[in-house]
Amino acid sequence: MGLETALGDNWLTTKLEFFINWARKYSLFQYPFVTACCGMEYMSTMCAHYDIARFGAEFTRFTPRQSDLLLVVGTINHKVAPVLRKVYEQMTEPKWVISFGACASTGGFYDNYAVLQGIDKIIPVDVYIPGCPPRPEMVLDAFLKIQEKIQKTRLLESK
């Protein structure tokens, strides 16, 4: 009992590229690299009130090898930068990166000897979320932007 009852013995045609991108964008497996207070906003986005499961991204994977979306949530300092690079390199293609909050995007107000001034200095970033910390609505918006970007990916162009 489902869609096939309504459609009967009909055909559904689509482009392979569209279909693959559609499948990918609604099954984002995230790796949350949480280092600071932005993690609280991330948790509230994940949980029932804001419920990111509505966008097909409810599953966190705590190994980079099983995830395709890296969320860098919080301040990254020079000491931990090699760890973040290693996590990124261990993720399998295709992979996307969200820089969550002011610190991950630019270093925030930590303009000192210890803090990396934005994670785009060591790994490529797809979407930046501003805010200190960002509201859950902004996180949802970033997810929609990532999905938009995934849908537009050309599969036959090599990266």
């Binding site: 020079h78 000491k79 930068a81």
Partner: protein, 161 residues
Amino acid sequence: MSREVLEKLKARFPDAVMETHSMFGNDTAMLKRESLLEAMRFLKDELKFEMMVDLCGVDHLPEIPRFEVVYHLKSMSRGYRVRIKVRLPEDDPVLDSVVPVWKGANWYERECFEFYGIKFRGHPDLRPLLLYPEFQGYPLRKDYPHKQRQPRLPLLKPERR
């Protein structure tokens, strides 16, 4: 409240105590660094300051002597608190370690060493505690350039200046 502690300290070490004050209820004694360890032993054993609450460094850059190490002590059995300060010259920032008196001073002294370059004589393992091993210099000194960065990885693009 613990002014009598300062009086006892002054009576026991008349030459070592350079100055005392009790501003805002914080009883403070300025000690000479040569007699620090002896005075700390006295404070712990005789006056029952069983707990070293905090140890931190200060860089008073234009002043001479330049560095200062501040100890906060608490007596759990008598409820006293006292603050001990020691001044160190820039060209010889060396101080006796108080790890033989309070074991808990170990990591505080390592932290003070890596951020201010103050060396603690007699410390069992004076290595950097929080910074990565290849870090050069002492970042909390006032003359450490505040824009200086020491990245561990080659960066994809330069950091903003």
